[in-house]
Subunit: 440 residues, 2 copies
C-alpha cells in the first residue's frame, strides 16, 4: 500500500452533509482517506491519478447475500417462493459441497468487484471456505454460518461450532472480515433454538444475521403459533440485543417498525428478489422515517440472478414509487446512501462507507464520460439512474486496488471460471433430494 | 454487404416455436437470414465467425422513444408527471433547436446500438434531422413528427406538412425508415384536431403514433369532458383505422382493452417511466391474453434516464409481479418477445424481429461467457435477467454490422459527444419559458 492522490475528480462523499466536490482531489494514506478537497501540502503521494470526468464515491456494500449461490443462477425461475424453495433450491442444496461454496463465492466476488461492491454480508454454509475466498481477493465481508435448528439438533453445524467460527474469523484478514451467527429464520428454526441463539449472542457478544417476515403467510403462521409477529418474536426471544441484520422484513406491522427502530436493527432490502418472487413491498419510507438503518442486498443469484447493487438501488426506488403512487419517494442521494454508508454500517464496519478523512479507503471510480451518462445535469441522479456495473472503472478496498481500468488485480478470472465449472460438474453427479420443507 | 456464416452459436430464434439451437450456425445472405441451423451446402460465405459461448438473437426494437431527449437526461428527477412537464421538460423544450435534435438523436443512437437496440419508434420534433441521423448510422426507425394541436392551428408543423414528411421518408434509407403521424395525445390535442388527424391518416394510408391514458387523472378528465375514456375517444374519432402505436395505455378499462385488441393497436410499455413517475401499472397480462401486441419502449432519456431495453424488459416483469402478487407472470421468453418481435411489429417492419429464413438480418450477439452469466442453466432466463448493455458484443442491421466487438462501425462516438456538447451549449444560451401547460 502506498500514498495515492486522486486528482480532478467529481467526489461524491456521501458524508453527513452529502457534499459533492467538483474537480477535486482525494488523498489516500495507506488504508485510509487522508484528505478530501483540501490536500495538506505535506502529503507526499507515491502515485498521482488523473480522474477528470470520473466520479469517485464510496464503494457499495451488499448487506444480504448468499454469495456461493451463483451456482443456482437461472435454476429456478418464474415460480412462487414455496416452489422456489421446495422444487428448486432446497433440492439443489442437498448436493452442496465445500468446493462449490468456495468456487461459487469466488465467482460471486468477481461479479461484485466488477460492479463496484467492496463488501458483502454473507449467510451460507461452509463459511470457512468463504473466509478463504475473502482473504484471497481483498474484499470485505461479514460472514454468518447458516443454521437450521431442528427438534433433535442443528442442521449444518451446532451453535457452539458457529460461535467458534465467529471467534476465529471476526477481525481477521487485517480487519476486512467480520463474523456473526446465522440462524436461518423464525419460520424455519424452532423457537427454543432461536432463544438459545439469542442468549449465546449476548453472552459471547456476537452479532446475528437472519431472515424474517418475507411473506404475509409467514407472518400469519407466526401469529397463529406464537400470537406474535416474527419480528416481535425475535425481539421477545432476545435476538436483537447485539448487532443484527434482518433480511427482508417485508411484512412489518407498526409494532414491528418500532422494534426495528428501537433495537437498532439493520434491515437489508433485496428488491430484485422481493419483486421477482412477488413477496410484497417493505415499508421502507416508514423505516427510514423512524431512523431504521435500511441497506440493500443482492440476495443470492439463485433468486435475484444478478449481484448488481445498482439494479437493487433503482428497484428499491421504483417499487416504492409504484406501490405508493408517489414519484418523490426515495429521491436524491437516498439510494446511494442505502447502498453505501448504510450498507457499511449494516456489515458492522466502523469508519467505512463515507469519503471523509480517517475513513477506510474503500472507494470506486465511475466513468461518467460514457455516452449513456451524457449530459450530467445532476451527478447524483446520473449515478443512481445511469450506472451499470461495466461503468465501474476502478475499485479500492482499504487502500488496495482490486480493479484498475476494469482489470481485476487480485483475481484470475479465467482460473475461477474453470474451477467453478469443475466444482459444478462434481456437484451435478450427486442425485438430488429435498433437504428442507417450506410451507407456503 | 456480404454472405456471412455465424458458427457454433446458441441461437435464440424467437420464432413461432420459440426454438433455441445449441452449437448451431446461421447464414446471412446480403440483408436477410438465409438459413438457421441447417445450412444449405450451396451457401458460400465470404466470412465465417466463430461464436462459441455466445448467443445470437434478434435485435431489440424500441417501440416508443423521444430519442433526442438525451439532452434532458437527469434534468427533472423525483417529481410527479405534472411538475416534470411544467417545471422541467416543457420549459427546456422552449429552447429546442434542430441541432440539438440531431445531436441528441445521434447520442441516443450510440447508446441504443451499444445496448443492442436495432430500431426505434421516435416521436419528436425536427424529424428531418432525426431521419438524417438514422440514414447515417444504419439503424431502423419509425419516425413521427410530434404535433400539439391548438384552437388556432398547430404547434410545431401542420398536418399537411407532417403528411409530406411521411410521404417523403416512409420507405427511405433502403427501407430502414418508416414514418407516421404523431399527434401528441388526447389530453394535449383538441378533439377536432384529433378527428382531422384520423381522417387524414385513413385518406393517406399512414400510421399514427400517439400517447394515451398515462394517468388516472387524464382518464377522469376525458370522461368528464367527452363521456369517453381517452382510448374510446381515439377509436371513436377514427385514429385506430391504420397502423397505430399507443404509448403507455396504463389506465385502460375493459372496454379499452377490447378496443386495443379489436383494432390491432400496438401498445408500447415504458416501465422505467411508469414506475419512476408513479403513473400506475398497465394491464399487460390482460392485453397479452386478448392478443394485443405489447412492445417495450425506453421513452425519452428525460424521464427514463437510460435507453436500455434490457432494463425495460426486466421492469416490465417485475412491476406486474409486484402489482399482482404473482411470481409466474410474464415468465419464460415473454419479455424477449416483447422487446424483439413485438417491437418489430409495432414499428411496422415486416419480416423483421425473428431469426428465420427470409427475415431481415437484424441481430445481436450477446457474450454469455462473462462471469455474471455463469452458469447458464436456462438460456432464456440468462438473457432476460443477466444481460446488461455492455454484454452486447455485436450488432447487425439488415446484414450490415453496426458494432463488432463493442466497436461502433458507422459512428464516430467522440465526434458525436463533441457535437452534442456544442449544440447543448448553444441551447443553454436561450432563456427558458413554459411552452405548454399540463393539467394534473
Amino acid at each position: 500500500m502506498a500514498n495515492i492522490l486522486l486528482e480532478h475528480a467529481t467526489i461524491v462523499t456521501l458524508d453527513a452533509e452529502d457534499r459533492i466536490l467538483f474537480d477535486a482531489d482525494l488523498a489516500i494514506q495507506e488504508d485510509v482517506v487522508a484528505a478530501v478537497g483540501d490536500i495538506p501540502p505535506t502529503f507526499a503521494p507515491d502515485e498521482r491519478i488523473d480522474l477528470q470526468g470520473r466520479v469517485v464515491m464510496p464503494g457499495l456494500y451488499n448487506a444480504h447475500a448468499h454469495a456461493a449461490m451463483t451456482y443456482a443462477r437461472t435454476y429456478a425461475e418464474d415460480m412462487p417462493l414455496d416452489r422456489w424453495f421446495n422444487e428448486g433450491i432446497w433440492r439443489l442444496e442437498s448436493a452442496l459441497t465445500p468446493d462449490i461454496v468456495y468456487w461459487g463465492t469466488m465467482l460471486a466476488i468477481v461479479e461484485m468487484i466488477q460492479g463496484g461492491i467492496v463488501g458483502f454480508a454473507d449467510h451460507y454454509f461452509h463459511m470457512e471456505r468463504v473466509a478463504q475466498a475473502v482473504e484471497q481477493t481483498g474484499v470485505r465481508a461479514n460472514l454468518a454460518w447458516a443454521v437450521f435448528g431442528s427438534e433433535t439438533g442443528e442442521v449444518g453445524i451446532t451453535i457452539p461450532e458457529t460461535v467458534d467460527f465467529v471467534k476465529h474469523w471476526d477481525g481477521a484478514a487485517s480487519g476486512r472480515l467480520r463474523a456473526m451467527l446465522g440462524p436461518h429464520s423464525p419460520y424455519m428454526c424452532p423457537d427454543a433454538f432461536l432463544a438459545r441463539t439469542g442468549a449465546v449472542a449476548v453472552r459471547e457478544d456476537v452479532g446475528i444475521h437472519i431472515h424474517a417476515s418475507e411473506t404475509a403467510e409467514q407472518v400469519q403462521r407466526s401469529q397463529d403459533a406464537r400470537d406474535m409477529s416474527p419480528i416481535e418474536f425475535l425481539a421477545h426471544r432476545g435476538l436483537f440485543e447485539t448487532h443484527t441484520i434482518v433480511a427482508h422484513a417485508i411484512h412489518a406491522s407498526d409494532v414491528d417498525l418500532n422494534i426495528l427502530a428501537n433495537k437498532d436493527v439493520n434491515v437489508a432490502q433485496c428488491p430484485s428478489t422481493h419483486m421477482k418472487y412477488a413477496m410484497g413491498v417493505a415499508r421502507v419510507p416508514e423505516m427510514l422515517e423512524r431512523g431504521v438503518n435500511v441497506a440493500l442486498g443482492t440476495d443470492g443469484a439463485g433468486s435475484s440472478t444478478a449481484l448488481n447493487l445498482w439494479r437493487e438501488m433503482r428497484l428499491a426506488v421504483l417499487m416504492q414509487r409504484q406501490a405508493h403512487a408517489d414519484a418523490t419517494l426515495l429521491g436524491g442521494s437516498q439510494p446511494l446512501h442505502m447502498a453505501g454508508p448504510n450498507g457499511a454500517r449494516a456489515l458492522g464496519f466502523d469508519s467505512t462507507g463515507v469519503l471523509s478523512p480517517g475513513f477506510a479507503a474503500d472507494l470506486i471510480v465511475v466513468n461518467t464520460l460514457a455516452s449513456h451518462f451524457q449530459p450530467v445535469h445532476n451527478v447524483t441522479a446520473a449515478l443512481v439512474w445511469c450506472t451499470e456495473p461495466a461503468d465501474v472503472q476502478d475499485v479500492m478496498v482499504a487502500g488496495r486496488w482490486l480493479m484498475r481500468d476494469r482489470k481485476l488485480l487480485t483475481i484470475d478470472e479465467q482460473a475461477i471460471l474453470a474451477g467453478f465449472q469443475n466444482a459444478l460438474s462434481e456437484m451435478q453427479k450427486t442425485p438430488l433430494k429435498q433437504f428442507q420443507q417450506y410451507q407456503a
